[in-house]
Amino acid sequence: MGIEAQFQKVEEKLYQNRYLVDAGQPHIKIAPHEKPSKNLLAMTHLCPAGCYTEAESGQVELAADGCLECGTCRVLCEESGEITWNYPRGGYGILFKFG
């Protein structure tokens, strides 16, 4: 069994969750960059929802639909200006059934 097969895909985990996505209004945005900082690059491992990925060209990209609103990327990357972090509009985003 390969190391990959050991782990469940994060998308499969998110599939159990309830979201109300505010289409076209992402609440987190990445500033354009040539080369990501150490922290921004770390988000490709750290984000519990797997929202951050590294593109072939080396930049970090973000798809925030599955965001769990934990705030980890805000703690690591907001101060430097690499990302802007807001809440989704009231009522939107992750809606924990249990929490």
């Binding site: 159990q16 750290l46 980890t72 805000r74 703690v75 972090w85 009522g91 924990f96 249990f98």
Partner: protein
Amino acid sequence: MIEEKFDAIVIGAGMAGNAAAFTMASRGLKVLQLERGEYPGSKNVQGGILYADMVEKIIPEFRNEAPLERRLIEQRFWLMSDNAHTGMHYRNDDFNEEKGNRYTIIRSQFDRWFAKESQAKGAILLCETTAVELIRDGYGKVIGVRTDRSGGPIHADVVVLAEGVNGLLGTRAELRPRPQASQVALAVKEMHFLPAEVIEQRFNIKGDEGVVIEAAGTISKGMAGMGFIYTNKESISVGLGCLVSDFAENQTSPAQLLDLFKKHPSVAPLIAGSEVKEYAAHLIPEGGYNAIPKLFGEGYVICGDAAQLNNAVHREGSNLAMTSGRLAGEAIFQIKSRRDPCTAQNLSLYKKLLDDSFVIKDLKKYKDMPDLLHTQASNLFLTYPQLVAKAMENFVRVDGTPKIEKEKNTFSSFRKTRGALGLLGDAVRFARAWR
């Protein structure tokens, strides 16, 4: 939108906000509570152990009405190596008392119930409403908030910031700093559903009895972190958290760490065959006493996780949040009943009440612990658990080696791995931080 002025606006319908809203509304103050989620609890995550004493101080008869999962009669601590755990189990039938001391809860249900209690006392709750900005007068005093709903600002004599660890309002208004990576843990959690009978069999319990397990060791790969397994009525909460700074340094995926924890030979049989219905993530403030921001100012107070009021050593948070919310509510009520203004000077009463309570006393006791855990993480969470597992194996496994030699092996493995001075130093540092 809302013309009238309130005595208080409470930001958030979590533990701290609900306690503050209830305390003030039940004493006749005019309270507006804002919650960005669809319903109270929809953004909140807890293990979740509820400590009855602190709820009782707010709603004495809560056991009859609140959605509680299981009454805890047994606590297990597991020190984990890759294939073993060395455990201490504390079970006491005295916990089967009518007024249980600790319960498990499910936050989305508990928060909804708690907020309804405040509404029954007259608090107005607006959900799906995010407060986006604090309004201040020319002197800098907080006099209200702006929301993401249409309509103008809403005014109040005081704003209670119970916005949680990731709150944006207080940090953007520079009333408190954004949490540092070394002051917050990221926790991930799954809800594993199983029939009640299966849970009761696996954990050796009956009726509404419950068991909780706290686990530390190689599961966190040398990072400062803990895992937990809590029994609910028909589900088991399984989760794990580590400091964000450690996660960043080690470039570790929390989802994968959780998967490894679930596969540990001591954990897997407990959750075998379960249906997972949710995957959640949330931060936990772990900066302790030294990370507490200024708790009050002109026209505002800060409560709960937003103020880093969380005891990581004992894994208590909701009770500190609740108590700080209650004490803020009591302070504001006293000030309002004297018809005094909510100035910083008057609101310092909140801090005084909090200083006199277990909240600040407990956090003070462990004020050096966060630093210790941070600098000693790989010894405490990786080396020692492996050594303990080895020592236990030496003690238990019968293989013809004379006992005296086995003991020697155990001692020398400790000394070799950590060095005699290292061992002594660790013990002293730990004892100091615990004192």
